[in-house]
Amino acid sequence: MNTKITFLGKEFANSIVTASGILGVTGATMVNNVKEKGVGGVTMKSVSVEPREGHPNPTITTGEHFMINAVGLSNAGVENSVKEIKYYKENCQAPLIASVFAGDIKEFGEVTKKISEASPDFIEVNISCPNVEDEFGKPFAADPQLATAVTKIVKENTDIKVIVKLSPNVENIGKIAQAVEAAGADAICAVNTFNGTLIDVRTREFVLHNKFGGVSGPAIKPMAVKAVYDISQAVKIPIIGTGGVTTGQDVLEMMLAGATLVGVGSGVHFGGGKDVFKNMMGEIKEIMEEEGIEDLMEMIGGVKSDD
């Protein structure tokens, strides 16, 4: 039985990667995710040129079936992040996906150039964070022209393969996917979080300090799977399917919809603690055995659609 995945020419021990923003602040945490928890690869928290403190707390909370966050893209800045990536690379072989964001097109080029110094295996471009609209306006992922412009400048500033991370808060995600593919994106990650909020009844206050945030976790899985399927029908480049995955079965479902790799974020909380990734892999192997699946790669885009 083979659970290895080849994604843009690099080998992952399995199809699970941590999603950006989850257990990805320090190099050591990401090493821990691979060595102790068993993920196939890691995505780092999104970084900008300068350090950012993010929003005051509460920044992350959950309901029974969802998580909502407005961390506000806190990060130590690209210079410190290069050091964290170097630490990771010295201590771990599994592929690392760096994640970058910026407030304007030019800065996307700058942050990409700088992060490339650390030689991450891939660069993911976060054009889809919904929690900084006050500061940056609508995410770049909401507009095919802006998404194209960002993709182009990022590609111009690096030789590393580029993954563009899309927002589900758009009318037609397939169109945006086609735009970034045409602009040179090597892969797509979808989805980022859905716009949402949470109001406390007793105090009548918004719970998140930022008032609005991004919704993730089990509640968004059906929408995320649909988005991944739509993208897979619209483009040829590979997809990292992300959103609401908490079990091994969910991982396989995301792959059937068209994902080559599967990102897991909120699942760290909902999936049952520190053994969540090992449990997922156990379940995947069980299903593969029961269904006679020899190679995990067979699952990619394997949903039956006879029309």
């Binding site: 320090t26 998580m67 406390d200």
Partner: protein, 264 residues
Amino acid sequence: MKNNSQQPTILPIKKIVQETPAIKTYTFEHKLGAEPGQFVMLWIPRVDQKPISISRQTDSSFDLSVFKVGKATEALFDMKEGDKVGISGPYGRGFNIEPKKNIVLVGGGCGSAPLRMLGEEAEKAGCKVTFITGAQTSKDVLFKDALSDTCITTDDGSAGFKGFTTQKLAEILTENKDTDKVYTCGPEVMMKGVVDVCAKHKISCEISMERYMKCGFGICGQCAVDPLGICICKAGPVFSGEMAAKITEFGQYHRDKAGVKHEL
């Protein structure tokens, strides 16, 4: 609160006690069911939400003892009895109590907060508890009278033993050869000193660490420590002396709200 939900539970402040010029204790009527050494995330609407240890617990109430250092704690100091705050948790792994042991608790400043609850629970479990509570000067000493066997230390000698808690601990361990375990919470440099004293006397110890926290439940990775990459909010805040020795940043540096490193 349902199983997966971390949404704050809103509670009115039942009682406020001014412990020292910079520390107040807030009592809430709510069955928390925490272990000593665990913490809650305390939400002050429109201000911030911060990790605070539990300093006392009964079947129907719990206390938080808070040191005024910045924006959130100042806002809390302005609140009155009856005002509402939000509580999430309890979170983290607390202290391990072994019944019927001779134990010493070493608290520096507001670090004495979780040790008070630990002391009370340990006494219930039949332990003989000696509590060292240290501060710079007599007016800053927290929980002078909370536990029966309490030694006060002050840097300036204005109350109790003149000197550091670590010096007092060394004295006690030299005198009482039957001490089984030491527990400490306070400034990291002090805790580092406690770990060293314990190593010298071959006595096991537990420490309680602080790092900047965002979620408090092991998602964001903000409170991760080098080189293990484990999160303080989930794997800690309490660690054994042996674990503390593996956390090489302990006593050396920490990361701030952005994730930038600073020396301690």
